[in-house]
């Protein structure tokens, strides 16, 4: 299996020098505005020389003076690996700009729009003190509809991802605690508006930015300091800009596919107190007592990560049998062996072990988060593997959860049953790899896997998982598209095109939905707009099988040619020769990459003898 750990240039690095290193080390989301502004200025000076950043064109639309926030946002976006172009729009005129199709906003051609609303942009004029419940409901519905109208208007002009803020709680309580009791208080109107908004965004496929949570985290009374608005029209306290910008950067990173996927954990003093090799099973602190309880709480948090689809791995300097004993025998142990995707307990150095873990799971080093209580281990990994995120752990285990959660390494934009099953899927894959290692003949291995594939159209049931696969896949993705569910549904509705999911199972288990193809009509040909496949099922013949189905679909649509496009990124080099392997010929070079053509009038060989179809091929 290809080792992808060495091939990815870290954003910002020239050779092994991370030009952003000093800024990264100095940057702290909770630092006051003044520090953020200083770092932002420092960044501006070096930014032209920083390589390997992903371009991002983002329009941030809101009321107030957003220029200073934009400076801080740029800093955190760059640290996340973006080269941002930020459009702010004319002061106080974002509504006009959305409505006017000739406005500078659309001329800017953003690839993302952030409706940077705050509580100041929401009022409920019809709701007087003591108002009827129905008046309250109507006011909330009206307020939510206003934002929905902006999304739809934006979408008609430019179908791109939209980020919408929800609204922070008011700091001032006119009645005191009574505000929380009555439906007509601004406090409760805002809370219920946020709930309505969270449903509305799901319906319209808009990403919700939880500004309300950031305001609470920062502290409502500090957030709402009125003088910042009166003096210079800051949307909220400038000292909160770092926190919001950092969260936004992580959020956008997740939207573009760079959220982390796996936590690699040390054992001694990370999952329990003490050293099991010295203290023995009875001597480690886990369960009773303040420290023991802190470690249990940390394990519970890790379990919740695993339940939502984040992989857990162990990387510990310990005797394997002694380490496993804790999981098998300690009564207070919450994390179990079946929760662990890869268990690495030996006396090798952790840098090699981390590389091995990434290779075993076939994920990049840049999807790992390494958690270790030992500052020396942390520093070693940071310098040897700068792609791995290594949060600075506090000395008090009671703070472990808070610190790991605050790192926002695992921002999510969706959740599906596959997430729940992910650890099981990876463990099954490990069994497959063990079987492969035991087989000397690859042909026998593939035949013995007893593989069965299935495919189907983009129906409501499969759409979420299809969009999720497009959003998360970086390696097998020649065009790196990130279509949302709504966009996929629209593409599927085009009768001249073809959108399909593919699943695969073998004798070890069911991989589930592992491939998506989007073909779009282009003249008298069909262009492969998107072709993704999960890294779990590389090199088993599924690519060839999917390709044959594409050819059948194209012939059925009476199309004579297939067009493939390869847009190289730092991550999709594995598919640089994909079209060539499938028999396409290079047709030309375009701005973003290469174009390949396949003439469908000649016969296409069946290159996939080891996978059979569950249902007989294509219906319509």
């Amino acid at each position: 299996m290809t080792d992808h750990s060495e091939t990815l240039p870290l954003p910002g690095t020239v050779g092994r020098t991370d030009l952003l290193g000093p800024l990264r080390a100095a940057a702290d989301p909770t630092a006051p505005f003044f520090s953020q502004a200083t770092l932002a200025r420092r960044l501006k000076k070096i930014l032209p020389e920083v390589p390997n950043l992903r371009p991002l064109r983002i329009a941030v639309l809101g009321n107030g003076t957003l220029d200073l926030f934009a400076e801080v946002l740029r800093l955190w976006l760059v640290l996340e690996g973006f080269r941002p172009e930020i459009y702010l729009g004319a002061y106080g005129a974002f509504r006009q700009e959305i409505l006017d199709s000739q406005s500078a906003l659309y001329e800017f051609r953003p690839d993302t729009v952030w409706l940077f609303a705050t509580g100041r942009d929401v009022c409920f004029p019809e709701v007087v003190f003591g108002a009827d419940a129905s008046v309250c409901e109507a006011a909330i519905t009206t307020a939510a509809s206003e934002w929905r109208n902006w999304w739809r208007r934006l979408r008609t002009e430019r179908p791109i991802p939209i980020i919408q803020n929800n609204f922070e709680s008011p700091a001032v309580r006119v009645f005191g605690h009574y505000d929380a009791v009555v439906p007509w208080s601004r406090t409760n109107l805002i809370h219920r508006l946020n709930l309505v908004l969270s449903e509305a965004v799901r319906g319209d496929n808009v990403a919700l930015f939880d500004l309300a949570h950031d305001a609470s985290t920062f502290g409502l009374s500090r957030w709402h300091e009125e003088r910042h608005w009166h003096q210079s029209k800051q949307p909220f306290a400038p000292d909160a800009f770092g926190l919001v910008a950092f969260h936004a950067a992580r959020f956008l990173g997740a939207m573009k596919g760079t959220a982390r996927k796996c936590v690699v954990l040390d054992l001694d003093n990370t999952l329990w107190g003490g050293v099991i090799g010295d203290d023995g099973l009875e001597g480690i602190l886990l369960g009773n007592g303040p420290e023991g309880e802190a470690f249990v709480a940390f394990q519970d948090y890790l379990l919740s990560l695993r339940a939502r689809g984040i992989l857990l791995a162990i990387c510990s300097k310990n005797d394997t049998a002694i380490a496993r004993e804790a999981f098998l025998k300690h009564p207070a142990m919450r994390v179990q062996l079946q929760d662990i995707a890869v268990f690495c307990a030996n006396w090798e150095n952790k840098v090699d072990n981390l590389r091995q873990i990434a290779a075993t799971l076939n994920i990049g080093l840049d999807t790992l988060v390494f958690v270790d209580d030992n500052p020396i281990e942390r520093e070693l990994v940071r310098s040897a593997l700068p792609e791995v995120a290594v949060p600075e752990m506090p000395s008090d285990p009671a703070e472990y959860v808070e610190v790991l959660a605050a790192g926002r390494f695992f921002e999510a934009l969706s959740f599906s049953p596959v997430d729940v099953a992910r650890t099981r899927l990876y463990r099954e894959n490990a069994q497959r790899e063990a079987a492969r290692a035991a087989t000397t003949d690859i042909t026998n291995f593939l035949r013995d896997l007893d593989m069965e594939a299935d495919n189907g159209p983009a129906d409501a049931f499969h759409l979420p998982r299809m969009a999720q696969l497009l959003a998360r896949t970086n390696q097998f993705h020649p065009t790196t598209t990130r279509h949302s569910e709504a966009e996929l549904a629209a593409l599927a509705a085009d009768s001249r095109g073809w959108v399909r999911w593919f699943s695969l199972r073998d004798r070890f288990g069911d991989h589930g939905l592992v491939s998506v193809v989007v073909l779009q009509s282009e003249g008298n040909a069909l262009a492969i707009d998107s072709w993704v496949m999960s890294c779990r099922v590389f090199s088993r013949g599924l690519e060839e099988l999917v390709f044959l189905e594409m050819v059948r679909a194209a012939r059925k649509l009476e199309v004579t040619r297939l067009i493939g496009r390869y847009r190289p990124t730092s991550k999709n080099r594995p598919v640089a020769d994909l079209f060539q392997r499938m028999g396409f010929t290079l047709d030309g070079v375009e701005e973003e990459g290469t174009r390949w053509i396949l003439d469908l009038s000649s016969p296409i060989p069946d290159l996939s003898p080891f996978i059979r179809w569950r249902s007989p091929g294509l219906p319509t």
């Binding site: 006051p32 505005f33 003044f34 502004a37 200083t38 200025r41 420092r42 000076k45 003076t65 220029d67 200073l68 003088r227 009166h230 003096q231 210079s232 800051q234 400038p238």
Partner: protein, 84 residues
């Protein structure tokens, strides 16, 4: 120049240098907004917040609008009885 005012000036100079990330800028007791290219209305906001943080003071809206020269900053800091 009084010792108090001189040591206040030194701290104000440091604030400018850090905020603009440039130790080479010449900031004197006579420097005005018009003298410094980087001192635009946006930097004004950063400057006010930085001065507040450095000296532990709060400026009201009226005060903030008057801080358009180093001289004005020093005057205002003195009225707030800032410890040098």
């Amino acid at each position: 120049m009084l010792d108090v005012r001189r040591s206040l000036l030194e701290r104000v100079q440091r604030v400018f240098h850090e905020a603009l990330d440039d130790d080479s800028l010449e900031i004197t007791k006579d420097t005005r907004q018009a003298d410094l290219q980087e001192w635009d209305s946006l930097f004004q906001i950063t400057l006010i917040l930085a001065i507040e943080k450095e000296f532990g003071v709060r400026f009201g809206a009226k005060d903030a609008s008057q801080l358009v020269s180093v001289h004005a900053i020093l005057d205002l800091l003195e009225t707030k009885n800032v410890q040098p």
